[in-house]
Symmetry: C2
Subunit: 241 residues, 2 copies
């Protein structure tokens, strides 16, 4: 029995233009590893309805879950809901339950419920709302596609709302050994170790510090005893002449 | 005349597992913006020859340039060259010029040129080497696909070696205005501004600070005078009651 798989789709120009460095993907990767959902792929695309629809359809066919980040606010460039609705061939209208949530929020905060803000109540028919405890405007899940905001605080809050209703698997465990020898020196025994422990994954991350080559080896898997056994053999590789 | 387009393909498990936060994509995005090459898409995938080949073929058909990061070292999980060769239907063998580079480097440093290190001389026939001034093992360009290392220091050095031989376009300029009003309040005039300046792109990035909603609006384009004109109108939107 293997863990469910997932992809994340980050929508918007802010990362592609070099303006900001990703935060949501990094956060979600950690949450999914702990939940036992294997993040297999990430894509970052710009704001385009056709581009979003194409990526959503490619990813939802291939993974148990697709998580999107960005493009569900009130401005002209917030077109993620349009792209997701297009991917499923569904109409996109203002839904009463989402409108009621927003109306309550704006009544409490004294802000005007204008046409732009009402855009955030556009939810495809049949989608399940994702709670947004920070600024109310909800995300939504349509089948295996989970649509969330891009603002990091809100993204995190939505992930916290969503994850308890998804079925996870075995948490991904990892252990790291810092080895003061170059990758090329340990590559052969490391490859043999990886073959002998085919149920674990072995990542090899070289570094250079003060002119000396070293390697961080990260071992990942879901069985703690197997991880311990692999780490013991890795320690012998690290110590070998 | 529009700028050349590009995609980046990051290969390896370290970002998907949540272990590390992306650095190479962020660095390259900034370099490409300055060079006038439009980064349109990014993908992060795990180490799999078939997965790499599929992504390389999807991206090279769609963009003027594809930049890859990761998976060209000496260890068992370094299979990017295999994936790229498979994408092009080319054999992958040890090439004399790359072997000579490595032999010189290991002779100077006193390290053994073992079988694992020799893997780094596997370069597809016809590819142009990308210089690696840090640890010698080269990257390579095959048609419009540029294959580089994942270690951030080496990735940056390879980008510096590569970019001067690519033809860029007009550098992407950007200006940001911080507006102390919520996105929903400025969305309508901002949408009109974006329509009137269709040659520029307008990104709207909401924030919450001390309980107050605000919006950073980022305007991007290649024509400085148009950018200035848009910023002047944006300042009036920010100041409006």
């Amino acid at each position: 029995m293997s863990n469910p798989t997932a992809a994340i789709l980050v929508i918007g120009d802010e990362i592609l233009s070099g303006r900001t460095r990703d935060a949501n993907m990094h956060f979600l990767a950690g949450e999914l590893a702990a939940k036992g959902i294997d993040l297999r792929e990430a894509r970052i695309i710009s704001d385009s309805v056709a581009g979003i629809a194409e990526a959503v359809n490619a990813l939802r066919a291939r993974h148990d879950h697709v998580f999107t980040s960005g493009g569900i606010g009130p401005t002209h460039d917030d077109i993620t809901a349009d792209g997701v609705a297009a991917a499923f061939g569904l109409p996109l209208g203002i839904r009463d339950d989402a409108r009621a949530l927003l109306a309550g929020h704006y009544a409490r905060t004294g802000l005007e419920m204008n046409e732009a803000r009402l855009r955030m109540a556009r939810i495809p028919e049949g989608a399940v709302l994702i709670d947004n405890p920070i600024s109310t405007a909800p995300g939504f899940s349509l089948e295996n596609v989970h649509v969330m905001a891009g603002v990091p605080d809100i993204f995190r809050a939505m992930v916290a709302s969503l994850l308890p209703r998804l079925t996870g698997g075995l948490p991904l465990l990892s252990q790291t050994l810092r080895i003061e020898r170059g990758e090329g020196t340990i590559a052969t025994p490391l490859g043999e170790l990886a073959r002998d422990f085919g149920d674990l994954s072995f990542g090899s991350y070289p570094f250079i510090q003060n002119g000396v080559y070293g390697t961080n080896v990260v071992v990942r898997g879901t069985d703690g005893a197997r991880l311990d056994a692999a780490m013991a053999r890795l320690a012998r590789i690290a110590a070998a002449e």
